[in-house]
Symmetry: C2
Subunit: 292 residues, 2 copies
């Protein structure tokens, strides 16, 4: 595996495989790679000949006061993990390579996709920063496939929308969330937590499970399902930041479960902000809109 | 020449030439083609094997109250002109093909490039609409070269910035303004004018010439040069909307001519809004910043 730091190096490295008609996959990451990232890389390798992983802690997607400075950076270890996982190229640019002097362009997905959940909690600029840097990476690598994690479900939906709207010639693949044995969703931010916080963080997964049980038991009222998840979190000592049921494609808030619903939640455990989600599937019916 | 209406048709049509390693040029237009467009197409044909012209009156870049409905549309004639000029593919999509249901993405170049001149007159949304549609066209066609006209100097500078910022792998070419025998810059909007308005519209070119004479005579004060252009327009019965001297790359207002300066102006003649510009070149000196 080769690590490259500039756009021109990366393009040069991709010239030969592209001329040989090899397919290219991109896995965008902020580093601090864990088994969740490994799953994305492995999935990429099953789909394409060449796997490019980008490693860039994108400063613009952190709001003032968020954890930009604290965000874990372990490039040598990340490079080892990527190499072991069959990655061909690690693109680890400096900030000035991504945002040169005079940089002035932003790619924004507006509306219901971004003005809920993380868009409220982290501010409207968060997703604009994500879509801007993702589009840059797509333009630099020009991959056939780009792989994202379902853990950041809203981000994946926003990226899909941006790709469709701007006619980017790439297929977006979204891989399931990878969890520790006890159910905690893997996140680079888990490293911030003490042992007791790590224990308390399980409240997020338990809340999702409580909601899943409600739905399995026949509950279809979104407000009730969310309240149940919220109650479970509080009971386990974690105050929810948001718990919402939304359409998984549009992020539109749901009042009734009917087909697919995304239950998304966020909370702080100590100073660590965590998010998690689960897809709730119920038999789709038309009883809401058409009288039987 | 073939006319295609959908993104997938266009991509399919470009598959064979791309596989054969042929180079592709894109000339984005809003149709109502004239000799200015012909020059862009001819230039594109000298640089690339395949020339694609897009013909799309982009509704989003017209502010409310502007001339979207009146904008001249003559597709059959445009197709003839394009065919005669060696164009291979005419991409003439419907609005719904460019902006499908749920479209939510905008590409914005912020700051000094867009908050002067046309950005003030036509509103901040104007250039965002331009960069959004241009990026879409670049993603759809994936050309080696995209050709724009110097008549829309600010638009060309904004597109260049967007291309650089988003790492779009395309070379932007800008061709000189084409003028009628009497000096009037060609524009699809010239068709709006009566014969007497057409006569009065020469005031724009005369104003640029008056400024050029001032500079040739040694004048280096930007305020004085602009005032001279403004005076000439008024004298010829046209009230300027703006007359400004700016840096041709950054659009930053200039106080002194020193190197390259863009003199850009806009005015209404009757109900027709016209723009024009000229590049003023003076020997670059450092006398402003370093005492001799």
């Amino acid at each position: 595996m080769r690590t490259v730091r500039t756009v021109s190096e990366l393009r040069a490295a991709l010239n030969a495989p592209r001329r040989a008609q090899q397919t290219i996959a991109l896995v965008p990451t902020m580093g601090a790679l864990h088994d969740g990232h490994r799953a994305l890389m492995r999935h990429a390798a099953t789909l394409c000949d060449v796997v490019v992983v980008s490693l860039f802690v994108n400063p613009t997607q952190f709001a003032p006061g968020e954890d930009l400075d604290a965000y874990p950076r372990h490039e040598p270890r990340d490079a080892e993990i990527a190499a072991e996982t069959g990655v061909d190229l690690l693109f680890a640019p400096a900030t000035a390579e991504v945002y040169p002097d005079g940089f002035a362009t932003t790619v924004t997905v507006a509306g219901e996709l971004t003005d809920v959940l993380e868009g409220v909690s982290r501010g409207a600029e968060h997703f604009a920063a994500v879509t801007t840097v993702v589009l840059k990476l797509l333009n630099i690598v020009d991959p056939e496939i780009a792989v994202f994690g379902q853990k950041d479900a809203q981000q994946a939906a926003v990226v899909r929308r941006m790709v469709r709207d701007l006619d980017v010639a790439v297929r977006v693949e979204v891989c399931p969330t990878v969890r520790d044995g006890d159910g905690l969703a893997l996140s680079s931010r888990n490293a911030y937590m003490s042992e007791s916080e790590r224990e308390r963080a399980l409240a997020l997964k338990r809340a999702l499970e409580a909601a899943e049980r409600e739905v399995a038991g026949g509950e279809r009222d979104a407000g009730h399902v969310a309240a149940c998840a919220r109650g479970e979190m509080s009971r386990l000592g974690v105050e929810p930041e948001y718990v919402e049921l939304v359409d998984p494609q549009t992020m539109r808030p749901l009042s009734t479960l009917n087909g697919e619903a995304l239950l998304a939640l966020a909370a702080r455990v100590g100073r660590t902000r965590l998010i998690d989600n689960t897809l709730l599937r119920t038999a789709s019916s038309k009883t809401d809109s058409t009288p039987s």
